[in-house]
């Protein structure tokens, strides 16, 4: 096969990134991680089965492993690095704060995908109840099993009423 390459420009987190020698097989995920050095977006399976690579494209959550980079030219991509208004730890996005406060992760590897997915979800408005959050956060696997705390974190930001007494994440000793 000839080494055919493309030239593409990706818009990521408000910045333009020229990819002059883009291999047409390159996924958006691999372009972010390997070419642009934006490793906050994670690769868990490469097959659309885990959700770790979730980013926003024009504000909608998508799986970047299931997207060819070349097809996303001209789309506005938002990754975890660009979620906070001023970028990063100084002024985190409310979801980022809530995830820390609710201990909504352990190893942290699925976390950027969870947070980007939650950002998309809140925009979709499917946060009326814990059950709805659970259903609509089910595209993101967490092998550490932080699901209950993830629901609590999303509910905090979406102002979803949690059932009193259920899944309080900070109960201590009996």
């Amino acid at each position: 096969m000839p080494a055919q390459t493309l030239t593409a420009t990706l818009h990521v987190n408000g910045r333009e990134h020229a990819l002059p020698d883009l291999d047409p097989r390159t996924t958006l995920l691999d372009a972010l991680r390997e070419s642009l050095g934006l490793t906050g977006t994670k690769k868990g399976c490469g097959l659309g089965h885990c959700g770790a690579c979730t980013v926003l494209a024009d504000g909608r959550r998508i799986l970047s492993c299931m997207a060819l980079a070349a097809l996303y030219e001209g789309r506005e991509i938002t990754t975890i690095e660009g979620l906070a208004p001023e970028g990063g730890a100084a002024r985190p996005h409310p979801l980022q704060q809530a995830f820390v406060e609710r201990d909504a992760f352990q190893c942290g590897y699925c976390t950027p995908g969870q947070i980007m997915s939650a950002a998309g979800l809140i925009d979709e408005g499917r946060t009326g109840s814990p059950e709805e959050i659970r259903e609509f956060m089910s595209g993101n696997l967490c092998r550490c099993g932080a699901y209950a705390n993830i629901v609590a974190a999303v509910a905090d930001v979406a102002r979803t009423p949690l059932v009193p007494g259920a899944r309080e994440p900070e109960q201590g000793r009996s």
């Binding site: 096969m1 000839p2 080494a3 291999d23 097989r25 390159t26 691999d30 991680r33 490793t39 906050g40 977006t41 994670k42 690769k43 868990g44 399976c45 097959l47 089965h49 885990c50 770790a52 975890i80 690095e81 906070a84 990063g88 730890a89 985190p92 980022q96 704060q97 995830f99 820390v100 406060e101 201990d103 992760f105 352990q106 190893c107 942290g108 590897y109 699925c110 976390t111 950027p112 947070i115 659970r134 259903e135 089910s138 993101n140 696997l141 967490c142 092998r143 550490c144 099993g145 932080a146 699901y147 209950a148 705390n149 899944r167 994440p169 900070e170 109960q171 201590g172 000793r173 009996s174």
Partner: protein, 723 residues
């Protein structure tokens, strides 16, 4: 965070100190390190037979593909020394596969070639062009006849205390005489760790020194193994692993990606990155082995256990023997005079299993606790009451007392929170508002409290802050956070003035991050190093009561202490284990036989809890893994060729958010003055132990049907055909 009162920081629900970095996408995992210019990507080609030899391997097309730098096979790979190396996490019997060193294939999915190219896409494409043919040899792959061909673990396991046969008294005679007896067989499938981060390594050689950025629970062992494989002095190898995207045991041994990345990097004289695909995660890493257990219990009519006989067989490979402590809990969990255990391994043409969260206990306790439920039914006795009736303060397998044991308190606390008293004892008698059958079940949980030697360094800086370090790992339990708490409290400094570092072989030596012993081992070393550094600083100005930060400013230069701590003989004088009780509620669709788990409630006696917030997360996370084991997880192995047939996250089903209902975990107050200086017993594994049994027992209570093979599929609940 506002300034935290230093003296009370241990025991506080502190948010993870590495949290802000992780939620910002700023935590750097192994495959994300930039080794500098010239990075190449390696893609692994794997075998498609379970046993045999490579007849031919054609790399011409791959080598001619665009961007390809090299294609390594056994024919051109460098001959490596592969000196003997047996780390604590390596099977003592047998020898690891020597990668690309000969034409022999020992399991499905064994690496047989590595394509190295400028980009990942080019490497993956080149790998697809490598043509390999095999001379297959007969392979033993099915597990159905394993019991008949199983063997004891072997002499080196015996030296480690895992003989295969154990117990006391005469279990057969006691069983024969027992007025109430049950006997049943339990089957557990192979399970894969499936951390969301795949295993991956970036390797770089520079002036004969090898640097590896790797996903591991034990940087020092990766260094030791690579030094042995490449014939290097260990100080010529550096391994860096500050963040681990989940491991659950999969990071206990270096997998092929480490050696291949290092080999290729030296071969092409450029940095090389090798990351396993998800499918390769099923063929190259270890896994919890398939096992079959047979349990016989005898009791008097009041529920006093008279006999326990527990036999287990699990799969291993042909080139190494992986054995785990599956039956020990049957010897100490309950009071019983006559106990016999017999554990065997069945070598198969598969890759070697390895420890997965709660190794051995998850398996053995599942069988025992399902059997206890069957005994309770046979006795017409409340399952909780049966456990409490056989509670003991002495470990009857050794005759020494438990350092602490709160099994009874755990059953009381969890049972109360769960509402066990609402349980109608008759199976099939409870329904929810949707007409589903409701079942309540319970099980005990246990995990040994162990401790290893550990070393930590505390460096106190003139600005009144401290950096504490050790080569440990944080795959998710919160090592960064809990060690920072111990250090801050010991030093008397505010939490935010203390930074804990880990994951680098240049740091003082930590034990392997596993076994639920990191806090007991390293926490003790951190505490000792901080106490010593503080003492030195205060000694310099000759005052023992001064404010440390002020003292450090006064001294004007760093004060440092590196301390190594070791366990004493306390674990010979006491039998030390964490204990717990877990309750499950299931809802079973009476027609479709789907099983859902609305609630899991557990109570645990784990000694002191350093951080109730992260501790609770550990336990509830372990519960989720136990739920997966109970209901959905299995690695299906094709009996014809040992190929894992569901090697993707679409077919190996770990729980999703919508599967998880209410999870409740509490810790009973427990002080253990014997076990280690911190009084901690460990809680990384125990959350998974017993969960599947509690769920199976609840399914029985809901339906009257015993499902003795995991996972509890709809077919098994329905009692229909296979699967």
């Amino acid at each position: 965070m506002t300034s935290t009162a230093a003296a009370s920081v241990v025991g506080q629900p502190v948010s993870r100190v590495d949290g802000p970095l992780k939620v910002a996408g700023g935590a750097t995992y192994a495959a994300e390190f930039d080794p500098g210019p010239g990075l190449c990507h390696g893609a692994i080609v794997t075998s498609t037979v379970a046993s045999g030899r490579i007849a031919s391997i054609d790399t011409a097309a791959a080598e001619a593909a665009p961007g390809v730098v090299a294609v390594l096979t056994h024919r051109n790979a460098p001959v490596l020394p592969y000196h003997e190396h047996k780390g604590l996490t390596d099977p003592p019997e047998g020898e690891r596969i020597h990668l690309l060193q000969d034409d022999r294939v020992r399991h499905q999915g064994q690496p047989v070639a590595l394509a190295v190219a400028e980009t990942l896409e080019e490497a993956v494409y080149a790998a697809s062009l490598v043509r390999v043919s095999y001379r297959p040899e007969s392979a033993v792959t099915a597990f159905s006849d394993a019991v008949a061909h199983a063997v004891p673990p072997g002499p080196r396991y015996r030296d480690r205390g895992l003989e295969g046969d154990g117990g006391r008294g005469d279990a057969d005679a006691a069983l024969g005489a027992a007025p109430v007896r049950i006997e049943a067989e339990y089957v557990m499938p192979r399970l894969n760790h499936n951390p969301i981060e795949p295993h991956g390594t970036v390797a770089r050689w520079s002036e004969g020194e090898l640097t590896l950025w790797d996903k591991t629970q034990w940087v020092d062992n990766v260094r030791a193994e690579m030094a042995a494989v490449f014939g290097l002095p260990p100080d010529r190898v550096r391994v860096v692993s500050p963040f681990v995207g989940g491991a659950f045991g999969s990071g206990l041994r270096p997998w092929a990606n480490v050696t291949l990345a290092a080999m290729a990097s030296r071969h092409v004289d450029r940095p090389v990155k090798v990351v396993l695909t998800r499918r390769q995660m099923f063929g190259i890493t270890g896994y919890r082995p398939r096992s079959t257990h047979r349990v016989a219990l005898g009791a008097d009519r009041d529920g006093q256990l008279l006999a326990i006989r527990h036999e287990g067989v699990s799969e291993t490979s042909t080139y190494e023997t992986y054995a785990e402590e599956q039956l020990g809990s049957s010897e100490y969990l309950y009071a019983c005079r006559d106990v016999a255990t017999r554990y065997r391994v069945a070598p198969r043409n598969v890759q070697t299993p390895n420890d997965m969260r709660g190794p051995g206990k998850v398996t053995g306790v599942h069988a025992l606790e399902c059997a206890m439920d069957e005994l309770a039914a046979a006795l017409d006795m409340d399952p909780v009451e049966l456990r409490l009736r056989n509670d003991t303060i002495v470990d009857q397998s050794t005759g020494v007392p438990f350092s602490s044991r709160s099994l009874r308190e755990c059953y009381q606390a969890a049972g109360e929170r769960f509402g066990w008293s609402r349980r109608n004892p008759r199976p099939g008698a409870m329904r929810d508002e949707r007409g589903r059958l409701v079942g309540y079940g319970c099980a005990s949980a246990t995990w040994p409290a162990m401790r290893q030697a550990a070393e930590a360094r505390a460096r106190l800086l003139p600005d009144g802050s401290a950096v504490v370090s050790s080569s440990s790992s944080d795959m998710g339990p919160g090592t960064y956070t809990s060690m920072t708490q111990v250090a801050a409290e010991t030093l008397g400094l505010p939490l935010e003035r203390v930074r804990f570092e880990l994951g680098d072989t240049r740091m003082p030596t930590a034990p392997v991050h596993g076994g639920s012993w990191t806090m007991a081992s390293l926490g003790s070393a951190v505490q000792a190093a901080c106490a010593e550094a503080r003492r030195r600083a205060l000694a310099e100005i000759g005052r023992a009561d001064a404010d440390l930060a002020a003292v450090l400013r006064q001294i004007g230069e760093p004060v440092e202490a590196t301390v190594r701590t070791e366990p004493g003989d306390e674990l010979r004088r006491y039998s030390a284990h964490s204990f717990g009780a877990v309750f499950a509620e299931v809802a079973v669709d009476p027609d479709l036989c789907t099983v859902r788990v609305p609630r899991l409630v557990g109570a645990y006696g784990v000694g002191r809890v350093v951080n109730p917030k992260t501790a609770r997360s550990q336990i509830t996370g372990g519960m989720v893994m136990g739920m997966g084991m109970a209901l959905t997880e299995r690695t299906e192995v094709d009996p014809r060729d040992a190929r894992p047939v569901n090697s993707s996250l679409a077919d190996y089903l770990v729980p999703v958010n919508a599967d998880v209902g209410e999870l409740d975990a509490v810790f009973v107050d427990e002080e253990d003055p014997h076990v280690n200086p911190l009084g901690v017993k460990g809680l990384g594994e125990i959350g998974t132990v017993g969960v599947a049994a509690a769920i199976c027992n609840a399914v029985y209570h809901a339906t009257g049907r015993r499902v003795r093979e995991l996972p509890v599929t709809v077919e098994r609940v329905l009692g229909a055909a296979v699967r």
